[in-house]
């Protein structure tokens, strides 16, 4: 929604999202306030870490995140020891070694977070023909962004009266078409949060959405901080050059 607002504000309403109210496109996502929204918005580190736990223990069972390296987790506030420990829980294929053999070793911080399936065919075979998408950019890759991802995660319900179900699909009013191949991934207390937060569906959905928003835009905080400096600097320069312009032009009168 923020995207639409900005675009229309800029008088480029032309680029707005076409026909997003039509039934086939899914219900309008819930409009939630996210800590990373707005000019001064920053990520909530505690939520990101809880969100990573949801991602690791729930999402990552089916979904890959090929742009996530363990070392990047410093961005959600984890220290080097923790990152090394998390990485070493996973095994990655390396090689070939000097004798030409591939070998397995514990993952290191520079490794990519391992994909649950070796290839898309294996992923489809294990998921009833549907391909679990890579989650690296998912928040930027969906109309509605974080609001949509959150809504989708909490949007499972029984289908409306009389609606014909699809084989192997689940009803979700926020999903375009209403029927999604992903089974409801979250249920209360499916995980136990390290910080003791009650693991309700809403809590987990909000946390993992924030983690995925960070994963899609890890530069967000740096970008906004630099933006503030840039805007203040240019604002001062604008004032100076306006005054200077007036002084120069006053010679003409």
């Amino acid at each position: 929604m923020r995207r639409m607002l900005i675009v229309s504000l800029a008088a480029f309403a032309l680029a707005g999202t076409p026909g997003d109210t039509r039934a086939a496109e899914g219900a309008r996502p819930l409009d939630r306030d996210w800590p990373q929204e707005g000019i001064f918005g920053t990520f909530d580190r505690a939520a990101l870490q809880r969100g990573f736990q949801v991602f690791k223990e729930v999402c990552a069972a089916c979904h890959a995140a090929k742009y996530l390296r363990f070392r990047d987790l410093a961005g959600i506030g984890l220290d080097q020891q923790t990152i090394k420990a998390i990485a070493s829980e996973y095994t990655v294929l390396d090689g070939p070694d000097d004798s030409g053999e591939m070998f397995e070793r514990p993952a290191k911080p520079f490794d990519v977070f391992p994909s649950p399936f070796p290839n898309p065919q294996a992923a489809r075979a294990a998921n009833g023909g549907a391909l679990p998408v890579d989650l690296s950019l998912i928040v930027k890759a969906r109309e509605g962004g974080d609001d949509y991802i959150y809504s989708l995660l909490v949007g499972y319900s029984d289908p409306p009266e009389g609606e014909e179900g699809l084989e192997g699909a689940y009803y979700n009013r926020y999903f375009p078409g209403g029927w999604i191949a992903m089974p409801p991934p979250l249920s209360d207390d499916i995980i136990e949060y390290a910080d003791g937060t009650p693991a309700t569906v809403e809590q987990m959905a909000a946390d993992v959405t924030q983690f995925l928003a960070w994963l899609a835009e890890p530069e967000l905080e740096e970008r906004k901080q630099l933006g503030l400096k840039f805007m203040l600097f240019v604002l001062v320069m604008t004032g100076i050059f306006y005054a200077y312009k007036r002084r120069v032009w006053s010679r003409l009168h």
Binding site: V7, L14, K66, Y67, K140, A141, G227, M231, W249
Partner: protein, 422 residues
Amino acid sequence: MSTEMQKPPFKSGVLRWIDERLPVLTWAYNELVVYPAPRNLNYWWNFGSLAGIMLVVQIMTGVILVMFYTPHADLAFDSVEGYIMRDVNWGWLLRYIHANGASMFFALVYIHIFRGLYYGSYKKPRELLWILGVVILLLMMATAFMGYVLPWGNMSYWAATVITNLFSAIPLVGEPLVTWLWGGFTVDNPTLQRFFSLHYLLPFVIFAMVFLHLLALHQFGSNNPLGIDLSKKDKIPFHPYYTVKDVFGFCVFLLVYGYFVFYAPTAFISPTNFIPADPLQTPTHIVPEWYFLPFYAILRAITFDFLWIVPAKLGGVIAMFASIFVLFFLPWLDTSKVRSARFRPIYKWFFWLLVIDVLVLGWAGANPPEGWYLVAAQLGTLYYFLHFLVILPMLGKIERPLPLPSSLSDPVLRGTRSQPAS
């Protein structure tokens, strides 16, 4: 320049020695420092220099991005989203400056063009200046389109497919031509690689055209809000008056540009383009970037065959290209001798109608070609051509322009807001 070249006041003997043998300093001094500019230019005259700066920004960021980008169908998306955006120092900044820069460049150029339309800057003796401008617009469109394909997202892929497919509408040679353009039987790696090559080449062609554009501009000097030919006493040296005004305008522009780069960097990027290119997954709505939407609406407005010989698809392609090519003939289609709309009471209204028409076309282009959207696109297209081919030629004959002043201090101007301080 119609006047004699002036020698710059050299303080350094070395510079004078160089300039006697290679008169670049004399040239720069005459074209950028003492160059006489009308003293009554308003802020709409800032957009040309802003667009020029934007071209340089795009070339500079583009040259650096190329150092990290990989032009290959299997690697392009990863090199942008996985490498430039995450691992390259300031890569995200360069990428967002470049991607949003394209939108900014078009916004500036469109304002620049409409300024020319309002003040009649295309009229004698500036016809070639205008035509060079239209050439630059066409080159910009080709460059922007090919640049949009390079990240190899799903909208990149399908935009490339839709736009290159337009050439298949050409009778007889269409199909083989498209295969030749693609370098295969579908948009694929060869297409990406040639687009990459051309996307690197064309900006330098644009640069050369901008140079010619400036050469043609400096032949007679800028037009001005009154649209009359000004005498020497109504002109002021470009430096410092317009250099400082341009720098101030640039600062204001940077605030808008900076807002998008730092606070809404993906506002102009379709979410679909964060999904890697997938030939098996057609997006529900294939929509081009905002700056192509009016032309996209014209393309899709022709849903009927012309006279049993031009099929609808070819008709759409012809209409779309004609909507730009008609601009080449504008200096002769507009039969009025008066340049500025300030003295053309009827044209002024038609100018704003054209602005509204283009906005309506843009809105229709963003939506599927059905129902009212299609009607709007068709009426908008009809009016667009009516404006250039019927209204402008007739208006010059029937409109009675207001009395033109002979100079900036002419009493005709007294009491109007355009009167300069004397």
